[in-house]
């Protein structure tokens, strides 16, 4: 499996890591040449981060690390003592941890964090440190580095924090930089800038181990790609080959999951709008104007995609449309009738017409209840509405005891989202991410809504599961004739599902168009910028 190009910087053979007997990394072998970029991709939990951390001796508490060969530039790292590791870290191998939000100490200035590597390896005298830090920050594209270095992480945007983190890793001028999911938490546009920065470093001769779960992200940068699954590397080869002629079925699956299908054919939806949002404004108590004069319409059976960068007001709009948040101005109509203007008491009998699916399935399911109870609760509101129908299973028409019929109804709901009845007795934390989101969808559908509002329903999920859930939603749309307001920051996802797309920025809808038109001829400058930043496979 291993390709061994001449003169490699790092050679790993048969690396295994286990935690209390649980194997996280299982016999991984690869090598990296100077100035090369090796990408490590794979689904969540496949062992990417553990592999990366094992390379600097920080595999984690309780980790047992074994390797047949672990050589950095001719030096065997096996048997390194803590002091040896310390000398190597930051100086020869730099590591950028997965989450820039928590990887910087919130109580220390950015400057102090970046300087840590300089101090630890005595690379700058006391007087030189400040200058070097500014230089480093400038080099990774932080504007005004002399001011920024006195700031604390919370005063920096996500992109700047990620840059500061990279600056800290580069302080010791390591030959190898390991970047663990450097762009996951970021907007597409910021993502692109970070990837550019890494490309620069590689061009300057730094070898790069780039880790991501997203094939599209690594496609831009990687010379070679290693695909990991369940602790093993299932495929390793030059980037072009892996992307165009994947050999392993898992790689093919990963590639297939990357949403690239053409936008849906334009359909027209006659009749009056199901949901109309009219000139809605919302300002929060702290003065944030989250929504300003937003207008949208969703027709029955239509999927309206809503995109926009983080903080543009998408979730706020969803909450207003759901009647969870009262707008300051404008109004929301449901089927031509007042909706946002109603009191909660008046709205309650109508609530079954609108369902919701949130981003994080775990936090949208009460952790204390079983699946059966969660769905049963939703069913119960329907039973109150349609008492006769509920007791009668579809096939037989026979009237059953309440409890029995409830069990059957729950099983039916689960079946609709492709889950077996055996899950009914589990609690949310006993389910996988995909299963959880399916349960959340089943619950939303149990009340038979005509409109489903989905706020980033797939962004917490792995690519492969993402595709399954999207398929499910589309199928349900076709079967049940659901209308959807579909929110995502991921243009590829939006493109795959939407009939029409609305683009939000800073609380305003800047453009609304049919999906095909929007992706072919974006009119608004912001939309164009968004589209350009999207990473693409090959």
């Amino acid at each position: 499996m291993t390709l061994s190009p001449g003169g490699s910087l790092l050679d790993v053979e048969n690396l295994s890591v286990s935690f209390h007997g649980a194997v996280a990394v299982d016999g991984v072998s690869f090598s990296i040449a100077p100035g090369e970029c090796l990408a490590l991709v794979g689904e969540s939990g496949s062992g990417k981060s553990v592999t990366a951390r094992a390379l600097v001796g920080l595999a984690g508490k309780g980790a047992k690390v074994r390797a047949g060969r672990l050589v950095l530039d001719g030096q065997d790292l096996r048997g390194h003592r803590p002091r040896d590791w310390r000398r190597l870290r930051g100086r020869r191998i730099g590591l950028v941890l997965q989450d820039a939000l928590t990887a910087l100490d919130p109580l220390r200035t950015v400057g102090a964090e970046v300087a840590e590597g300089l101090r630890a390896h005595r690379l700058a005298s006391r007087g030189e440190v400040a200058g070097r830090v500014s230089e480093l920050l400038g080099a990774v594209g932080v504007p005004n580095p002399d001011e920024r270095r006195h700031q604390y992480p919370h005063q920096l945007s996500g992109g700047l924090r990620q840059r500061a983190l990279i600056a800290g890793a580069l302080a010791g001028e390591p030959e190898l930089l390991i970047a663990d999911e450097p762009t996951t938490a970021l907007d597409v546009s910021v993502q692109a800038r970070i990837l550019d920065l890494l490309a620069e470093r590689r061009a300057a001769g730094t070898a790069l181990l780039l880790i991501s779960h997203d094939l599209a992200v690594v496609a831009r940068l990687a010379d070679r790609i290693a695909v990991m699954r369940a602790g093993r590397i299932v495929e390793l080869g030059p980037a072009g080959e892996v992307l165009s002629e994947p050999r392993h079925p898992y790689t093919r699956e990963l590639l297939a999951a990357v949403p690239s299908a053409a936008p849906r054919p334009a359909r027209t939806f006659p009749g009056s709008a199901l949901l109309s949002v009219r000139e809605v404004g919302k300002r929060f108590a702290d003065g944030t104007a989250a929504l300003e004069g937003v207008s949208l319409e969703v027709s029955p059976g239509e999927i309206l995609g809503l995109v926009g960068e983080s903080g543009s007001g998408k979730t706020t709009l969803a909450r207003v449309a759901l009647g969870l948040l009262a707008p300051d101005g404008g109004e929301v109509l449901l089927d031509g009738e007042p909706w946002s203007a109603l009191t909660e008491r008046e709205r309650r009998p109508l609530r079954h017409r609108v369902g919701v699916v949130w981003q994080d399935p775990l936090s949208s399911l009460d952790p204390r209840h079983t699946v059966a109870k969660l769905i049963g609760e939703a069913l119960s509101t329907r039973h109150e509405r349609e008492p006769g129908e509920a007791r009668r299973p579809r096939e037989t028409g026979e009237v059953l005891s309440a409890r029995h019929s409830r069990g059957i109804a729950v099983a039916e709901s689960l079946a609709m989202v492709g889950l077996g009845p055996e899950l009914a007795s589990r609690r949310p934390h006993q389910l996988s991410g995909g299963q959880r989101q399916r349960v959340a969808i089943a619950r939303a559908l149990a009340v038979r809504p005509s409109l489903l509002i989905c706020d980033e329903p797939v962004s917490a999920l792995d690519v492969s599961i993402q595709a399954q859930v999207l398929d499910l939603l589309l199928r349900l749309r076709d079967e049940l004739g659901l209308a959807m307001l579909f929110i995502s920051h991921d243009l590829a996802v939006i493109r795959q599902v939407s009939d029409r797309v609305a683009v939000m920025r800073a609380g305003r809808v800047v453009e609304t168009a049919h999906a095909a038109d929007l992706f072919a001829q974006p009119r608004h400058a912001y939309t164009r910028a968004l589209l350009q930043a999207v990473p693409r496979v090959a």
Partner: protein, 283 residues
């Protein structure tokens, strides 16, 4: 293959120790509950029967832990005291949790005015040391077991109220609560099924630890002569009686003190365990 780095897992070692400790704590608590319910199971003597002829026997012989000044068996008095000490701790905590929950939910869900009223009151109560609050309550109600119980409950209540409120505010904004609202569930079922249980469960874990504190507080009040009254064999009261004899009959003050310590340690071990488990699951 050779080991590159093998870090010793301190946590693993702890888990073993934790298991042993937990088993010990569970055993102690089990015995305590048994002693509280059927004290007769552990001793043949009466806790209040006086026999001056047997006064101040040292430990050993027929009297495992010796006898007190009126010839009462110390072991028996401690066994019978279990009920009083545990009862004070549990009842005071239950009272504090119940009151704190009502106040906290009122503050979190009852609108601005209720929130202000409840929280400002809680602020004032939290500003005063628990012991001082307890003493004020006793100034009002006079000494006695009932007042000691209420005094401890009052001094712990504001803390619980504040916790419940904070938690309820978080839970109220949780997506699963929004989801329940969107389903069209009536307000009271949203509160009863989702907000209350999820706000309460972390509190119940903390209440276990609170019970330990309450037992200590109860025995302190008895020691000061403000709580359970002799001849009731409450542990703090036994200690108060025994301290006269520190120099001459050490067993009078030693064993009740040990009983308190062992009980509170056991309660704390269990409480911590529950907390770890709870927080572990949430994380």
């Amino acid at each position: 293959m050779s080991a590159v780095a093998a870090e010793v897992d301190a946590r693993g070692a702890n888990v073993v120790a934790g298991g042993v400790m937990r088993a010990g704590a569970a055993l102690v608590l089990g015995l305590l509950v048994l002693a509280a319910v059927w004290p007769g199971l552990f001793t043949a003597y009466s806790p209040t029967e006086v026999d001056p002829a047997l006064a101040l026997r040292p430990p050993g012989g027929g009297h495992l832990l010796g006898t007190d000044q009126l010839g009462r068996d110390i072991w028996t008095r401690i066994v019978y005291g279990t009920r009083l000490s545990l009862f004070t701790g549990l009842a005071a905590t239950a009272l504090a949790v119940a009151g704190g929950t009502c106040a906290g939910l009122l503050a979190a869900l009852g609108g601005r005015a209720a929130d202000q009223a409840v929280m400002r009151t809680a602020d004032v109560l939290l500003a005063l040391p628990g012991m001082l609050l307890a003493l004020i309550v006793i100034t009002v109600l006079g000494p006695g077991q009932g007042s000691a119980l209420i005094a401890i409950a009052v001094s712990e209540m504001p803390g619980y109220a504040r916790m419940i409120r904070a938690r309820a505010l978080v839970v109220r904004r949780a997506e699963y609560v929004d989801a329940a609202v969107v389903l069209g569930l009536p307000h009271r079922s949203v509160v009863a099924r989702h907000i209350l249980p999820n706000s309460l469960s972390p509190l119940l874990v903390l209440a276990t630890l609170g019970t330990g504190t309450a037992i200590l507080a109860g025995s302190a009040l008895s020691f000061l002569g403000l709580g359970v009254r002799p001849p009731q064999p409450e542990w703090g009261a036994l200690l108060a009686e025994g301290r006269e004899f520190l120099a001459t009959a050490w067993w009078l003050a030693l064993f009740p003190g040990l009983a308190i310590t062992v009980t509170v340690v056991a309660v704390n071990v269990m409480g911590r365990h529950l907390r770890l488990r709870f927080e572990g699951r949430r994380a």
